[in-house]
Symmetry: C2
Subunit: 346 residues, 2 copies
């Protein structure tokens, strides 16, 4: 049965779990703030339900609970950070803070992180840049789930991109999504409900489209071939090669550039044994003051957002959303009424 | 009838046309090199067939043939450039050269350009970064052709993103595409051939999907509603909101940040009169030497490319392409055999 939980209680509980596992209080705060904020924003796939996997990662050994990020290369505007196989949120928060600090000094900061783990939802880090009226970009690679165009096997992750831009009158513009058609969580939902997948979401062991979510999930688990399709679907007709390009781009920025694992190597288990997945991230902050000016930028963002929202709707449609709007509304509602957690997560 | 033209002859001819219209020899070289290179790489939609539109832009007055780009704001790693409503390739080449120069000094260069015009294919500028073993990113906004998710009207352009990464053993990795499902050129091809559009490419004046390319093109021309769908297609089921996000992202980086026109304002005609479209661009160069090291980066890129190409194919498929591969092969072939031009372009 679903239960509504107060977000502060949820944070307290999760923090205690992590501290018990030898995570410092500060680091536990970074992790839990990210997970609960994901629930608040309605991204339950990246919420506290993930905590179980972090606990298991610490227990089996591929997440080192007290590892501290270390800068391995640095200039006034660039840096590469070694996450030392600790919690992804710890390395992620460190990475974006560093990018923001550089941006405060020089208008831009571009930071890569290697040897990290799952860092929660990507938008979290881009939102950090907004507090300083900066633009923020976040990317991360992830475990292989997505097939390249014309390929049979899942070779790279759902590799998300999150871009945030500050505003004044409206909520910030925050785009945050997997570069695959859908994240794995969606397949799991369809599987639980016994529903067929829409065409163009996933492939089976032949490398061609299937509507059977259970088959895709089982094949991925057993590495029998197939997986989720890149944004744009199967083949090139609907631009599947574009989504495939976006996924590889993320891998290049997060891992090839930082010296982390890329493609199919990003796995937490190898030959039956726990394995450091060595996830890679990328963080960029940018100060509009160095371009058109901060006030001017925010005002134009507001004008653009209002232009999109107020423009004519397609017949039968009531609303055009701008990116981030749904999540901010959800956050307001859930901060007031609580976060709904299913029985298993509770 | 189609004719094969030697690329050098084509360049000479185009250059003479532009010089005749008061474009300096250097600037004419930038424009023609971009157009002919597009033809060589097989992107005929952005090749010399465009020259006619540049000539008409100069003649009607929205392209100033002898305008010179001017830096309006600059730091060691950032700059904003005023294209002064000149030829897009002149401002574009200036912008990427400036980003590269900053990267030579400080590892990164991020340059925006405002008050520009159509600059040809975006990949051209990202390829410039490769000559220095840098990564290159290029974005540009464009005339409104694409509808936001649930919207009725075309509010932003096909806003392309081009990313290039250097390699050693293989051809460079070059991703270059419109953030819509397809560029307008594809609709024109289907219309000429009297073929139905695939589902999910475009919408009509109701804001919903149509298979009639002629109707979409006519509606766009007459501003009756509808247009090309963002990558991911209609609605949110296939990720159409992701393509919509990518398109707006490009507008934010190219125009909101630089102080140029964005969204539906990027038009060369207003109230029946010629209008400066004030197109905006963005150029980023990045030196991997500041991260994992240049040699290391290129070697890992090669490994990744080979992993993708050599991985198992979907049943019935013979080849997995990596981004840029098709274009490099086409270039080799066309440099040898000539560029095929249709009768109208000849």
């Amino acid at each position: 049965m679903e239960r509504l939980i107060n977000w502060k209680d949820l944070k307290d509980f999760g923090k205690r779990v992590l501290i018990h596992l030898n995570v410092s209080e500060d680091d536990a705060e970074h992790v839990i703030d990210n997970l609960v904020s994901s629930n608040l924003r309605g991204i339950d796939s990246h919420g506290v339900a993930r905590l179980q996997r972090y606990v298991s990662g610490i227990e089996t050994g591929y997440i080192i609970p007290d590892a501290q990020p270390k800068i391995t290369k640095e200039s006034a505007v660039l840096a590469n950070v070694d996450g030392q196989n600790g919690l992804g949120q710890v390395a992620g928060t460190f990475g974006m803070k560093l990018a923001i600090e550089k941006t405060r000094q020089n208008g831009i900061g571009f930071v890569t992180v290697h040897n990290s783990n799952h860092f929660g939802y990507a938008g979290y880090y881009s939102l950090m840049a907004l507090e300083h009226d900066f633009l923020g970009i976040t990317m991360t690679n992830a475990a292989p789930l997505v097939v390249p165009t014309f390929g049979r096997n899942a070779l790279f992750g759902t590799n998300p991109i999150a871009v945030a831009a500050p505003t004044e009158r409206n909520k910030a513009w925050v785009m945050d999504f997997a570069t695959s058609v859908v994240p794995r969580g969606k397949l799991e939902v369809y599987n639980r409900l016994g529903k067929n997948l829409p065409d163009g979401w996933a492939t089976d062991e032949t490398g061609h489209m299937t509507n059977d979510p259970g088959r895709v999930l089982k094949n991925l688990l057993d590495q029998l071939g197939g997986g989720i399709l890149p944004l744009g679907g199967e083949g090139e007709t609907y631009g599947g090669h574009k989504g495939y390009g976006l996924g590889v781009w993320v891998d290049i920025f997060c891992a090839v550039l930082s010296g982390s694992n890329y493609g199919p190597a990003v796995v937490a288990k190898k030959d039956g044994k726990p394995n450091f997945p060595r996830v890679g991230h990328m963080f960029l902050a940018l100060d509009p003051e160095y371009f058109v000016g901060s006030g001017n930028f925010k005002n134009t963002m507001d004008n653009y957002i209002e232009l999109l929202k107020n423009s004519e709707k397609a017949e039968g449609e009531k609303r055009i959303y701008v990116h981030g709007e749904k999540e901010f509304e959800k956050q307001e509602e859930r901060e007031k009424n609580g976060i709904p957690l299913d029985a298993k997560t509770v």
